[in-house]
């Protein structure tokens, strides 16, 4: 029991919460970035531009089918070849954006496909250009259908951030490892706290996602 009290000291908890902050920060930055890029990729896939669309499709297929861990290594060790020196935080965000945007691209594409074709025709008939119609009419409607799936992706992002401890990202998992690495008695308390903290954040999000899903009345996509 004493080990639990010691393990959850003010200093250790503050260090864990700092780590949680990094986890959330990286996840939020990544989900925003990957939504923007994912939407672009998804639209390119949807409208079927010659050469570009198949190439994007292939890119999506390759990235989607690789382990995230590998993408993290590629960005962290590969970016300096392009003249950039990423910190582990930036490397993780970039890796996450590359990986998640391919996931979101597919979500965006099926979201657009779910919007009735008549919408586009109607918008075009009232004088909007194709891209205007896409941006102002189709995407907002598709967005509604996509929100639960995007929240699902956000949850897996938060969980997947833990993998970046391997390139020493100072996230929740890493900070817990630093703490229990310095004292055996803290191992069990730290694992419990890790589980609790991740669970609370992800569970709240999944409840939100379920609410939204009910309200918007669409089907949820599974994400692991």
């Amino acid at each position: 029991m004493q080990s639990f009290i010691d393990a959850y000291s003010w200093l250790n908890m503050r260090y864990l919460i700092e780590g949680l902050g990094v986890t959330v920060l990286v996840s939020v930055a990544s989900i925003i970035g990957s939504y923007v890029i994912g939407a672009i990729l998804g639209i390119i896939r949807y409208v079927n531009i010659r050469f570009l669309s198949p190439l994007v499709g292939l890119f999506i297929d390759i990235i989607r089918n690789l382990p995230l861990l590998l993408i993290i290594f590629f960005t962290y060790f590969g970016l300096p070849n392009l003249g950039l020196r990423p910190s582990s935080i930036w490397a993780t965000i970039i890796a996450m954006v590359i990986f998640e945007s391919t996931m979101l691209a597919e979500i965006v594409r099926s979201g657009i496909q779910a919007v009735p074709k008549g919408q586009m025709e109607g918008a075009r008939a009232s004088g909007l250009s194709y891209w205007q119609a896409m941006w102002h009419i189709i995407l907002p409607q598709a967005m509604k259908k996509m929100i639960p799936a995007i929240v699902s992706q956000f949850i897996s992002l938060i969980k997947d951030t833990s993998l970046a401890t391997i390139i020493v990202l100072p996230d929740l998992m890493h900070n817990a490892q630093i703490i229990y690495g310095q004292n055996t008695n803290y191992i069990l308390p730290m694992f419990l706290m890790l589980a609790i903290m991740y669970f609370i954040v992800c569970y709240i999000l999944s409840v939100i996602s379920r609410r939204l899903e009910k309200r918007l009345g669409s089907t949820r996509k599974q994400a692991a």
Partner: protein
């Protein structure tokens, strides 16, 4: 790249085998466990529904790495020794089973409830109707999502690298630091992952189209 294959071919091949082995074992057990909890969720018995809900919510919302490290570090500290490969496979099984449970449950729910009522009216018990009428239909719907879960499983098995599980990613890390050609090592590793995942994902897409 060819030099990496030439020098470290046997290590890469061993890693490839371990990755495949652990994915297949995990798929097998997580299918059983996942289906079990999916059935629990759809039974009329409230206690079983609550148990299933708790299991699914907990393991869907905790990172795979935390679950795996728990089995590698915490269990041996208090109970018995678990090696890296086993710890990784257990972690993967538990994590994936929560997702499979959701998938199978959605499949069961997509079967017309009239089917269950009809077969109950014909004198079959609840379990018999589930086993012979509902589940076979449900599984047809869930094959593509299950295939995608298997792809995720193969990708997620890279978590074994954290617990010295001798999988593809672990071998990749060892080779990268031994050969010092980091990028080409990881390109080789990536190609080997794609050999498993890419055909599977194209096949699943084909199945999805055919079922739709």
């Amino acid at each position: 790249m060819t030099t990496i294959f030439a020098h470290y071919g046997s290590e890469l091949l061993q890693g490839f085998g371990q990755t495949l082995l652990c994915s297949v074992i995990s798929l097998f057990f997580s299918l059983i466990i996942g289906s079990m909890f999916a059935i629990f969720e759809t039974t009329p018995i409230k206690f079983l529904r609550v148990i299933a809900r708790i299991y699914i919510e907990i393991f869907r919302n905790i990172p795979l790495l935390v679950i795996t490290m728990f089995f590698y570090v915490v269990i041996p500290l208090y109970l018995f020794k678990i090696d890296g490969f086993t710890a990784g496979t257990i972690g993967l099984t538990i994590y994936t089973s929560a997702f499979i449970a959701e998938t199978v449950r959605a499949g069961i729910n997509s079967v017309d409830p009239g089917q269950m009522e009809g077969s109950r009216a014909n004198g079959l018990s609840w379990w018999q109707s589930m086993r012979y009428i509902v589940l076979p239909q449900a599984f047809r719907y869930v094959i593509p999502p299950l295939g995608n879960q298997f792809i995720n499983l193969v990708k997620n098995s890279s978590v074994l690298a954290f617990v010295a599980g001798f999988d593809l990613m672990y071998q990749g890390n060892v080779i990268a630091s031994d050969s010092l050609s980091t990028m080409s090592t990881y390109v080789c590793v990536g190609l080997l992952y794609l050999i498993i995942t890419l055909p599977l994902s194209y096949w699943m897409r084909y199945l999805e189209k055919r079922l739709a």
